[in-house]
């Protein structure tokens, strides 16, 4: 079982750090401390962190914070960031107004 999936693994206590109030996901205003705490709350994958905190779900869609969040989660889990799967990619790839998103020309032009 990979370290990410092993939920019974002891990752230790949440220890506050001086830079916990630093914003990591600018679009959704999520701090480093919130991300670290989420890991201790049992959110081990990027998908879980995203659903729990909304990191990477704002305007830039994780373009800025994706790597940063991965690094923080990996450090908390004491694994390499390479072991963490990136967030799922879904349409729409870019932020888009609902009005436009709903105006679909399936037949093309």
């Amino acid at each position: 079982m990979s370290k990410v999936n092993d939920r019974s693994r002891d990752i230790g206590e949440f220890i506050p750090q001086p830079d916990d109030d630093m914003i990591i996901c600018r679009c959704e205003e999520i701090t480093k401390g919130e991300i670290r705490r989420a890991v201790h709350d049992g959110m081990f994958t990027i998908t879980e962190i995203r659903r729990y905190l909304r990191t990477g779900m704002g305007l830039c869609q994780g373009q800025t914070c994706g790597k940063l969040v991965k690094g923080i989660v990996a450090r908390e889990l004491k694994i390499s960031p390479l072991e963490l799967e990136s967030a799922v990619s879904r349409a729409p790839m870019r932020p888009i107004e609902m009005e436009v998103f709903g105006n679909e020309q399936v037949g093309g032009k």
Binding site: M93, R94, E104, Q105
Partner: protein, 525 residues
């Protein structure tokens, strides 16, 4: 649903090149780009490119962009701008946002050339206005003619950091320092030398501790890091700046390939999360290709070749050409690609500490640490010879893929040979006529003409100069040495700017003899 033979996502160097090759082979090709202008990053690149003739060396990036666009038009490629590809589905169905609609397209081949996005680093105050990416700085300066700030600190000494640092100086900004947490300068030595001789200090093994300011950046504190990347107390240094520019690497924008279901991998050598591709750039899904930075961070010259390979391969996949043509063309392109990937900065050597050049010359530690060669070191390289009369002095000390100087010399004084990463050798037998073609051809601005016999007690030094306003003949100024320190008073004795130099002006200055091998920059008095 509108159908094409081939849909290309991204009109940058890779995407346009791919589209050209596919269209030339008879495919009906459309290129979508989310920007309002095509060309990707090329139009921000005002510097001359490296490489060889076939890589369009010594041509400025934006010119290459113009050439590519023309070639694409001539080949019948349709380029749709302000068109955001928002999804890539089964059976190569592509959804594109154009104006206020989402339109569905389909193709038999899809080439993803979406490029990369900039990495960020966090430090106290990193979200303050005034902390910007190097790409943003380039957009402001080179596309819109706006200075990003007055006093700027650059974080990152890779090629992006040093190239953009130089462009900031050209735009009239003051670059107070280039900082990097790594112990060595990551970019080409010649790029570092260009900024060092303008007086910009390098701080290696340093990082940003804090960006200061309430509403926006008003200052920055950096500090030295130990081998575990921890700040060493007492090493803090403060700078008053209004802008902090981050050039800390790029990540492939590979979300579309992931969404399409291509097999992906985390590959630090390629800069992050990339689709697994074969030699032609084809992903695990037949007919879906990736080219350029999206499949591994490199630079524009290799992106263009990768694009061409993908375009040819897509033509084969769709049955427009025979296997023979694919193999023949791919072999030719791969040869050009592999010559770009040679040398000490090639992907194979990423992160390695290289102590000697291929020829066995020692790599200057000072160059890697401070950005310039010392007076003693510079004489050791084969491009630096003491000769009678006017002659080139080539301060090129690293194996980088570049050889325009060899072709530039009408007297064949400069030899690099078949391997384009070899150090240029100045031939003592040949007779330099002082035409300056080599000086202007050097993308790294590391060639100078020196004449120790200019007149009694004085040496003339001709240097490449890309700053405005141009000084006039007879102007007095200050000669700066390789470290940017003021060395002596100098007089401009000639200013040459002909079309063949492509805006690299040649300034000839008169310096006392003992300064002939020291002075490398002219500061207007």
């Amino acid at each position: 649903m509108k159908r094409y033979d081939c849909i290309v996502v991204g009109a940058g160097p890779a995407g346009l090149s791919a589209a050209i090759e596919a269209a030339k082979r008879g495919l009906k090709v459309v290129v979508f780009d989310e920007n309002s202008k095509p060309g990707g990053q090329l139009f921000k690149q005002i510097h001359k490119f490296f490489g060889s003739k076939e890589h369009r060396a010594k041509i400025r990036g934006f010119k290459i962009g113009e050439e590519l666009l023309k070639e694409a038009n001539d080949a019948g490629v349709e380029v749709v701008l302000n068109a955001i590809v928002i999804g890539l589905y089964l059976d190569k169905e592509v959804t594109v946002k154009i104006d206020d609609e989402v339109i569905h397209y389909k193709a038999d081949a899809v080439i993803i050339a979406t490029g990369a996005s900039e990495n960020m680093v966090t430090f106290d105050g990193w979200t303050l206005p005034g902390v910007i990416g190097a790409g943003a700085a380039q957009t402001m300066m080179n596309l819109h003619g706006v200075q990003p700030g007055k006093k700027i600190l650059m974080l990152g000494s890779g090629n992006v950091g040093v190239v953009v640092g130089y462009q900031l100086i050209q735009a009239g900004c003051e670059v107070v320092a280039i900082v990097d947490a790594a112990p060595r300068i990551g970019g080409y030595g010649v790029h570092a030398a260009k900024v060092a001789r303008c007086g910009v200090p390098f701080y290696l093994s340093h990082t940003i501790i804090k960006a200061e300011g309430e509403e926006c950046v008003t200052g920055v504190t950096i500090g030295e890091v130990d081998s575990k990347w921890q700040i060493i107390p007492g090493t803090e240094k403060h700078f008053e700046v209004d802008t902090i520019c981050l050039a800390v690497g790029l990540s492939p924008m590979s979300q579309l390939t992931k969404m399409a279901g291509c097999i992906m991998e985390e590959n630090p050598k390629k800069g992050g999360y990339v689709p697994v591709c074969d030699e032609y750039g084809e992903t695990s899904i037949k007919g879906i290709f990736a080219a350029g930075d999206v499949s591994g961070i490199e630079e524009a010259s290799s992106a263009m070749i990768e694009g061409r390979i993908a375009g040819v391969a897509a033509s084969y996949r769709l049955g427009f050409i025979e296997k023979e043509e694919l193999e023949e063309k791919a072999e030719e392109l791969e040869k050009a690609l592999s010559s770009l990937r040679q040398g000490m900065f090639g992907p194979e050597n990423k992160g390695k500490d290289i102590e000697k050049t291929d020829e066995g010359f020692e790599v200057s530690k000072n160059l890697l640490k401070k950005g310039y060669l010392t007076d003693e070191e510079v004489t050791k390289y084969p491009g630096v010879k003491t000769m009678k009369g006017i002659h080139p002095v080539i301060e090129c000390s690293q194996n980088i893929p570049c050889n325009p100087c060899q072709d530039a010399c009408p007297k064949n004084c400069i030899k690099i040979g078949a391997n384009i990463t070899s150090l240029p050798v100045v031939d003592e037998e040949s007779t330099c006529i002082g035409c300056g073609m080599c000086v202007a051809s050097c993308s790294g601005q590391s060639i100078f003409l020196v004449n120790e016999d200019y007149e009694e007690g004085y040496t003339s030094v001709t240097l490449p100069y890309e700053f405005l306003p141009l000084p006039e003949k007879g102007a007095k100024g200050i000669g700066l040495d390789r470290s940017g320190k003021e060395a002596c008073e100098v007089e401009v004795i000639d200013v040459k700017s002909v079309k063949a130099f492509d805006n690299t002006n040649l300034l000839t200055i008169k310096v006392p003899n003992e300064m002939g091998m020291k002075v490398r920059f002219f500061k207007q008095a």
